[in-house]
C-alpha cells in the first residue's frame, strides 16, 4: 500500500514522516523546506507499506512547481494522511475539501494541536469527525502525541461522503468552523509582539542588523574556541605521535612519505606541509569543520524559530535590485555555510531567471565557510583591513553583477507571495539532528575532494606539469592581477576545494595586497566542483556554462581593478 502525507506547507509533514518511518528528513520553520519528496517505509501490524512525504501544497489545482509534484504524486497513493494545521483550520480545510471532492480515501491528522490550544483555539474533534465522516486524530508530531493512534487508524480508511458545492467552498468551511472551533481571545503574547516588531521596517531592520552582527561574532568566537581548545590539542597530542611513528616506518620510501606527510622535516606544520595525512586531514577537520558546525547550529536556530521568512520580506526591496525577490536570501544564507546546500535550495525559486541569477550570484559573491575559515586565518593575522576589503568587494560585486543580470537575463521574476510562519521555539532534537545531517554530509563531500586535491597538487608539482600552464597564463597573472605565476596552481586546485587553495597561498609568501586580490579572485572565478555539479542539474548545462563564463570574466575584471586600486592607495 502506498500512503501519502499531504498538507499545506509548514504544518509538520516532515516531522510526522520522521516519526512514522525513522528516516531523517530536514524540517525547518518555513514553507518549502521539502520541495522534493522523500520515500520511507512503515509497518502496520506486520505489513510493510511505503510512505511518501509529499511537498506542501495549498491546493490540488497547482499554482507552482512544488504543487505540481504534489498533485502528480497523488495518483500513486492508495490512501492519504491529510496533515491539518490545527492553528490554521480554515486554510487547511480548503485542501481537505478538495481531497473529499476527488473521492480520495484519507484520515486527518490535526497537527500542532497543543500549539492551537496554547493560542486559545479549541477544536471539537468528534464533531469534525461527524461532519466529514472520516477519522480525525489530534497530533503533536514533535512530542509524538497521537502518532500511534494515527498508525492504527490507517488500517481502515474511508472516503468521506460529505457533500458541498465546490463554488461555495469558503462558505462551507466557514460554517464548519462555526460548529467545531471555539476561539478564546488571549492577550498578546511575547512571541506575537516579537512577530510584529521584527517585521516593521523601523524596528525590524535594526533587529536584523544586530542579529547578523551577533551571528558573525558568535560564529568566529565559537569556531576559534573549538580550534584552539579542541581540534589543535587533539591533532597535536593524538595525531602527531601516530604520524611520527608512521614516518619512521616509511623512512626508506621517500616518494610515499612525501605524499603522505609532505614537507615534514623537523617540525610538522599542518597547514603548509601538504601531505595527505597532514594538511589533507587538518584543513577540513581541524579548521573548516568547527566553522561549519557553528555556522549551521546558528542557522538552524534561525530556521526553526521562523525568522528567515521575515529576513526574506525585509530584504525583498534590496534583492529586487538584482532582479530576484526576497526568498532568494535563503539559498544565499545557506550558501554561506557551503555552496552546495545553497545551490540545492535554488529549487524553492520558480522561474528560470530567478534561478539563474541566484545561482550565479551565489557562486560569485557568497564565499562558503570553508573559504571564509581559511581567509580568517590568513588575512585575520593582518588585522581587520584585509578581511574588510575582501568582503566589501564581494558585496559591491554582488550588487553590480546582480543589476546587470537583472537587465540582461530574459524572463520574469515573480513577486514575493508567501506565508509567514509564526515564531516557534526551536527544539533541541530538531537542531541537533539537522546540524548532524549537514555535518555528515560536509565530511562525506569535503574530505574525498580534499584528499584528491592534495594528491593532485603533489603530482602536478612533482612532475612539473604546471610549468607550461604557468607560462601561458603568466601575463594575465603578473600584469593584470599582480600575482606571481605560481598562483596558477592555486586557482587550478581551487576548482576542487577553495580551502585547499588558500592553504596553497601560504607558502607563496605574498604581500597583503596580493593576498587580498588572490582571495577575491578565488572567491569569484568558479564555485567548486561539488557546487558546479549540483548547479548543472538545477540549471542545465547550457545555462551553467553561461554562468561560469560570467564568473570568469567577473573574476578577471574585479581582480585587475582591485589590483590597480590597491596599488594606488
Amino acid at each position: 500500500m502506498n500512503i501519502l502525507l499531504i498538507g499545506n506547507p509548514n504544518v509538520g509533514k516532515s516531522v510526522i514522516f520522521n516519526r512514522l518511518t525513522g528516516v531523517d528528513v530536514i524540517s525547518s520553520n518555513y514553507p518549502g523546506t521539502s520541495v522534493d519528496y522523500t520515500r520511507g517505509f512503515l509497518s502496520i501490524s506486520g505489513k510493510r507499506h511505503q510512505l511518501i512525504d509529499v511537498p506542501g501544497t495549498y491546493t490540488l489545482e497547482p499554482t507552482c512547481k512544488a504543487e505540481e509534484i504534489a498533485v502528480e504524486l497523488l495518483k500513486e497513493g492508495d490512501v492519504v494522511i491529510n496533515v491539518i494545521d490545527a492553528t490554521n483550520l480554515e486554510r487547511s480545510l480548503n485542501l481537505t475539501l478538495q481531497l473529499i471532492k476527488q473521492k480520495i480515501p484519507f484520515v486527518a491528522a490535526l497537527n500542532l494541536f497543543d500549539e492551537a490550544e496554547h493560542t486559545g483555539i479549541f477544536i471539537d474533534v468528534e464533531k469534525l469527525e461527524c461532519i466529514l465522516n472520516v477519522t480525525c486524530i489530534p497530533t503533536c508530531a514533535l512530542t509524538g502525541v497521537g502518532i500511534s493512534k494515527l498508525v492504527n487508524s490507517l488500517e481502515e480508511v474511508k472516503v468521506s461522503d460529505f457533500d458541498f458545492d465546490n463554488e461555495d467552498r469558503w462558505n462551507t468551511i466557514g460554517n464548519i468552523l462555526q460548529e467545531i472551533q471555539h476561539i478564546k481571545h488571549k492577550h498578546h503574547t511575547f512571541l506575537e509582539a516579537l512577530r510584529d516588531y521584527s517585521i516593521k521596517p523601523v524596528t525590524g531592520i535594526p533587529i536584523l542588523l544586530i542579529i547578523l552582527v551577533l551571528m558573525f561574532l558568535s560564529i568566529r568566537f565559537v569556531s576559534e574556541g573549538i580550534i584552539e581548545h579542541i581540534s589543535n590539542p587533539l591533532f597535536n597530542s593524538l595525531w602527531t605521535p601516530v604520524l611520527g611513528k608512521l614516518s619512521a616506518l616509511l623512512q626508506n620510501n621517500e616518494l610515499l612519505s612525501k605524499l603522505l606527510f609532505g614537507e615534514f622535516n623537523t617540525v610538522l606544520n599542518y597547514e603548509t606541509s601538504f601531505g595527505l595525512l597532514t594538511t589533507g586531514l587538518y584543513i577540513p577537520i581541524g579548521i573548516v569543520l568547527p566553522y561549519v558546525f557553528s555556522f549551521y547550529t546558528i542557522l538552524a536556530l534561525m530556521e526553526d524559530s521562523g525568522y528567515l521568512p521575515r529576513v526574506a520580506v525585509m530584504m525583498d526591496t534590496t534583492m529586487h535590485k538584482a532582479g530576484i525577490h526576497g526568498l532568494s536570501i535563503i539559498p544565499m544564507l545557506l550558501g554561506l555555510g557551503c555552496n552546495v546546500p545553497g545551490a540545492l535550495a535554488t529549487r524553492i525559486l520558480e522561474t528560470r531567471k530567478e534561478k539563474f541569477i541566484t545561482a550565479t550570484l551565489l557562486s560569485i559573491a557568497i564565499p562558503c565557510m570553508a573559504l571564509q575559515a581559511m581567509l580568517f586565518g590568513l588575512l585575520g593575522s593582518y588585522g581587520y583591513k584585509g578581511l574588510l576589503i575582501v568582503f566589501t568587494t564581494l558585496v559591491i560585486v554582488w550588487f553590480i553583477v546582480g543589476n546587470i543580470l537583472k537587465h540582461t537575463v530574459k524572463g520574469t521574476s515573480p513577486e514575493i507571495f508567501m506565508e509567514i510562519p509564526p515564531y516557534r521555539l526551536p527544539y533541541f532534537k530538531g537542531i541537533t539532528k539537522k546540524v548532524f545531517m549537514r555535518i555528515k554530509w560536509f565530511i562525506k563531500e569535503a574530505i574525498p575532494f580534499m584528499l584528491f586535491g592534495v594528491l593532485l597538487a603533489n603530482v602536478l608539482y612533482a612532475f612539473n606539469i604546471l610549468h607550461g600552464i604557468e607560462k601561458v597564463a603568466s601575463p594575465l597573472f603578473v600584469h593584470c592581477l599582480g600575482l606571481p605565476k605560481e598562483a596558477v596552481g592555486v586557482l587550478i586546485l581551487g576548482l576542487l576545494r577553495k580551502d585547499l587553495a588558500v592553504g596553497m597561498l601560504i607558502p607563496l609568501q605574498l604581500e597583503l595586497n596580493q593576498l587580498i586580490v588572490a582571495s577575491v579572485v578565488l572567491a569569484i572565478y568558479f564555485p567548486c566542483v561539488a557546487t558546479f555539479s549540483v548547479l548543472i542539474k538545477e540549471l542545465g548545462i547550457r545555462d551553467m556554462l553561461k554562468s561560469v563564463l560570467i564568473m570568469l570574466i567577473t573574476a578577471i575584471l574585479v581582480g585587475t581593478i582591485l589590483n590597480q586600486v590597491l596599488n594606488l592607495i
Binding site: T87, T119, W170, V313, D316, P414, F417
Partner: protein, 76 residues
C-alpha cells in the same frame, strides 16, 4: 471606504472586495485563503515599493507590491 491594499495604513482592517487579476492570480490568492469577503489587517509595509504583510485569521502573508496593487479592500 475602499482602498488599494498597497495604500492601506498599518493596523487598518478591511474586507477584500475585489481582486483585479487573471485566473492564475485568483487561484494563488485563493490557495492562501485570500478570497473575496475575507477580513484582513495590514501588519507592516516595507519601503514604498516593498512588500506588505497582512494578517488573516491566525496567519500572516507577505504580498509583493505589484500584487498588492491589484487588491481592493473595503476598509472599516
Amino acid at each position: 471606504m475602499t482602498k488599494i491594499l498597497s495604500e492601506m495604513q498599518r493596523a487598518e482592517k478591511g474586507i477584500i472586495k475585489q481582486i483585479r487579476g487573471g485566473k492564475e492570480l485568483l487561484a494563488r490568492m485563493d490557495s492562501l485563503s485570500l478570497y473575496i469577503g475575507k477580513e484582513i489587517e495590514l501588519v507592516s509595509k516595507q519601503s514604498k515599493r516593498g512588500p506588505v504583510v497582512v494578517k488573516l485569521g491566525n496567519t500572516q502573508v507577505a504580498i509583493g507590491s505589484g500584487i498588492a496593487q491589484k487588491i481592493i479592500v473595503d476598509v472599516k
